[in-house]
């Protein structure tokens, strides 16, 4: 505990504890924010970040602890009270009521209109029609509305909870610029998984681990390592480096690709994407937020129909009207969002065996013995800790993610489409998932792996494609896919051109082209 307890802090939370049943979410956690600073709150998943945020914003009442704002103790029992106490939070999902118009949304939150307009202008959205229903506005605009709403009521402390995961990078920059202009007596608490951003914009960082504050770091060059070490604590498992075994281009040339996409377009974001996926390889997909990767996976999983382009599976054209069509030819989808994939109230067994009964001919009698055998096999393969298996919602996040994969391992898979399968799970489980994907590929399956963590590419993949503006703009073997190379490609920069310094430093550089692609569906967001 290296906390300063001087009274010149704008916000000071001390000895905050919260227990849910047997689970200790926070144990004497502390956070102190100086006036005018941008303060990062970091920690691995389950470290207690979200609980602390909920406590600060009044969504959750702590079991014990004090929250002091400007030297006075504040108790917030609801977000409304927290607002009155000068704490306002902006979340990844905009807190805007879709069925009310913007003016009504402002009234609902007692937000003054003129300051709101001012901030909208500052954030680059002019001439917003306040009478338009929120649901008719593009998501990017709503996110800015939410921010402007928060800024307009001039909070003492603004909490930005993972908003960069949902905002185009240059907007993040713009937001933070604006926030820094708030003056010396207002502060920002910045919550993010992306250390690179924290390094770029934050003054100090508070690190949580297992519900406790394990350190406060002055953010400076090289402090990422320090933060990571604090987050991981001792005995952290390093990611295992993978031994060789790349599928060579020569070997591929004799094979029919498992998948080949030709000029695939879907919705507004995927344009003319083409690539091939071969049996026995793990193909990485890298893209900045919103470049069409979601649409790509939706199309391949059968959730979405492409507007144009063709898909060949094992050399034969394939059209999917429903995920069932994709599954029938062995193409299965592992979602990042476990809430999308799991039957939370059902057992591990039912979750894994779910695809066994999906089709009408399988609706009959279940051979329980055979089912148990298959399920046990998958549970063992993935080393799922199924002790709390009567209800999947009682499992840890990592085990839950393993269940979503085990489902397909058990029912047999030829092509696995993984969309950020390691999002928000611990390093050990991540490792196990990489090993599993490698094993699947070794057994002849084809794996398409989108990941938001560039490190994963070299750990798990043979080859990587980079998508930008809905198109595949680069392809490289994993060996060449250093983080810098991937980042460069993800911004659609030629390999020989120099990477702008800002991009390299903060991934928030001049990205007007990216911006244009992202904002193309939101003309209300005007360009600089």
């Amino acid at each position: 505990m290296t906390l300063t307890t001087s009274t010149d802090m704008l916000l000071e939370a001390t000895d905050v504890s919260k227990t849910y049943g047997a689970v200790v979410a926070l144990h004497n956690a502390s956070l102190a924010v100086r006036p005018g600073e941008v303060h990062a709150l970091v920690g691995a998943n389950g470290a207690g970040k979200s609980t602390l945020v909920k406590i600060l914003t009044g969504a959750v009442t702590p079991d014990s602890g004090r929250i002091i704002v400007r030297g006075r103790e504040r108790k917030s029992h609801s977000p409304a009270e927290a607002r009155r106490n000068g704490l306002v939070s902006v979340y990844q999902e905009p807190a805007v009521i879709p069925d009310l118009d913007i003016r009504e949304n402002l009234r609902l939150t007692h937000t003054p209109v003129e300051p709101f307009r001012h901030w909208m202008n500052e954030l680059g959205v002019e001439n917003l029609n306040l009478s338009s229903l929120a649901r008719r506005l593009p998501l990017a605009t709503l996110r800015i509305v939410d921010l402007a709403k928060a800024l307009a009521i001039e909070p003492d402390v603004l909490l930005l909870d993972e908003i960069t995961a949902a905002l185009p990078a240059n907007l993040t920059e713009r937001v933070l610029q604006n926030v820094q202009q708030l003056g010396e007596d207002r502060s920002v608490i910045f919550i993010s998984h992306r250390l690179i951003e924290i390094a770029a914009v934050c003054d100090r960082a508070t690190v949580l681990r297992n519900g406790e504050t394990v350190g406060v770091v002055d953010v400076a060059a090289g402090s990422e390592d320090k933060i990571v070490n604090l987050m991981l604590g001792e005995g952290a498992t390093a990611l295992a480096q993978r031994e060789g075994g790349h599928v060579t281009a020569a070997a591929r040339s004799h094979q029919t690709p498992r998948l080949s996409l030709l000029g695939m377009s879907a919705r507004r974001r995927l344009h003319n994407a083409s690539f091939e996926l071969y049996p026995g390889e793990v193909l990485g997909v890298v893209a900045l937020e919103g470049q069409g990767q979601d649409e790509l996976f939706d199309v391949l999983a059968g959730s979405e129909r492409p507007s144009s382009g063709s898909l060949l599976v094992d050399g034969k054209p394939a059209t999917f009207h429903h995920p069932a069509d994709a599954i029938r030819i062995g193409m299965v989808y592992v979602a990042a969002d476990r809430a999308e994939a799991l039957l939370m109230q059902r057992s591990v067994r039912e979750n894994i065996s779910l695809p066994f009964s999906a089709r009408i001919p399988q609706w009959g009698w279940i051979n329980l013995g055979r089912e148990k055998h298959k399920v046990d096999e998958a549970v063992n393969t993935l080393q799922i800790d199924a002790r709390a298996g009567a209800e999947v919602r009682r499992l840890s996040g990592g085990n839950q993610q393993k269940v979503t994969i085990a489902r397909w391992v058990a029912s047999g898979v030829k092509t696995m489409l993984c969309f950020d399968p390691t999002r928000g799970i611990d390093i050990r489980t991540k490792n196990q998932i990489y090993v599993l994907l490698r094993d699947l590929a070794a057994a002849g399956a084809a794996v398409l792996l989108y990941t938001s963590e560039l490190k994963e590419i070299q750990l798990a993949c043979d080859r990587v494609i980079v998508i930008f503006g809905g198109e595949v703009v680069a392809e490289m073997p994993a060996a060449q896919a250093s983080e810098a190379a991937l980042l460069r490609a993800a911004h659609n920069l030629k390999p020989d051109s120099a990477l702008p310094e800002e991009v390299a430093a903060a991934a928030t550089g001049d990205m007007s082209a990216v911006q244009a692609a992202i904002d193309s569906q939101s003309t209300t967001v005007s360009q600089r």
Partner: protein
């Protein structure tokens, strides 16, 4: 997060949570205890009440309620509800009765009425499964349609006359030794439903759709297929319940089974099936139906009809609130 867990107040917590888990995971145990207590209470309130005759009559009423509550259990597991069961069941009993003097007689009547019940359910299923309209609305509208047609049929069949066929009366009010004949219908229905939910792929699909429709879809389940079959099945079950009830009461009217609609939902709720889907089962519902029947009997000893309704409603809220507390995510 679990890695970071530690327990506080281990002993107290353990005992409380053991109870909680027991109640949550095995609701049958407390429910059965409650049922037994109610029966004991009935005998204390009116000594001698609990005799074979009383048991028979309780089982009879519980059988009808249990079948109708089966409709609610199945639909509620998918996050739906079937508000047309009262109308459909009454229609089935009534239509069969009008065939008593017609060519084909009662077998024809049963075929027509169950066919109509299945058709009504099928239309509901199409509305819910394919058009994705809220089941509350679809089944409610379908109920009105069935009720209207039943009324029209009633006017048409005034001249021909009607009566509950003797065969159905035998099922509904006869006994086989000490056991009421209703069990000949109820037991097979119950076994089919229990096995359907526990041992068939279709049953798994009901739970899956109710728990998480997106996950089901991504796993290749075409939920419309499941739902269309489900509501048709629910219609048939309601029709069967209507036949049994018309035999039990020896009357056939287009509103005969109406009063069972709300208790059928209540029985499923008391039995531990969540109206939000994904949780529950038919065994609890059977006990729930028995509890409600015995409860009605006990209340009729001590309270006049109006108070019975009040107590009845209060108990349903109480039980539901207990479940809500037990199954709440901590």
């Amino acid at each position: 997060m679990t890695a970071a867990t530690s327990t506080v107040g281990r002993n107290r917590w353990l005992s409380a949570s053991t109870w909680r888990n027991l109640l949550r995971d095995y609701p049958l145990v407390p429910l059965t205890i409650l049922l037994v207590l109610l029966v004991v209470l009935a005998d204390i309130l009116q000594p001698g009440l609990v005799n074979p005759g009383w048991v028979t009559s309780a089982v009879r009423q519980a059988a009808v309620l249990g079948i109708l509550a089966g409709c609610q259990t199945l639909t509620m597991l998918t996050g739906g509800i079937d508000l047309s069961v009262g109308f459909v069941a009454s229609m089935a009993g009534f239509v069969t009765a009008t065939f008593v003097h017609q060519p084909g007689g009662w077998p024809m009547g049963i075929a027509v009425s169950l066919g109509a019940a299945a058709l009504a359910g099928l239309v509901s299923g199409i509305g819910v499964g394919i058009f994705r309209v809220h089941p509350l609305i679809v089944t409610l509208g379908m109920g009105l349609v069935v009720f209207g047609f039943a009324n029209v049929w009633q006017l048409q069949s005034v001249q021909t006359g009607s009566g509950v066929p003797i065969e159905i009366r035998t099922i509904g009010s006869g006994t086989l030794g000490a056991l009421p004949n209703d069990l000949l219908v109820f037991v097979p229905v119950a076994i089919v439903l229990l096995l359907l939910l526990k041992r068939t792929g279709y049953g798994r699909m009901l739970y899956a759709i109710g728990d998480n429709p997106i996950a089901a879809r991504l796993s290749g389940v075409r939920s419309w297929q499941v739902l269309v079959v489900l509501y048709a099945l629910s219609g048939v079950l309601a029709g069967i319940a209507g036949l049994v009830q018309s035999g039990l009461s020896n009357t056939a009217s287009v509103t005969l089974v109406q009063p069972y609609l709300l208790p059928s939902v209540a029985a499923a709720v008391i039995g531990g099936t969540s109206i939000l889907g994904g949780r529950g089962g038919y065994s609890g519902t059977i006990v729930g139906a028995l509890i409600l029947t015995v409860l009605a009997s006990v209340l009729s000893i001590v309270l006049p009809e109006p108070w019975r309704q009040v107590v009845f409603g209060s108990i349903v809220v109480l039980v539901a609130a207990t479940y809500a507390r037990l199954t709440a995510e901590s």
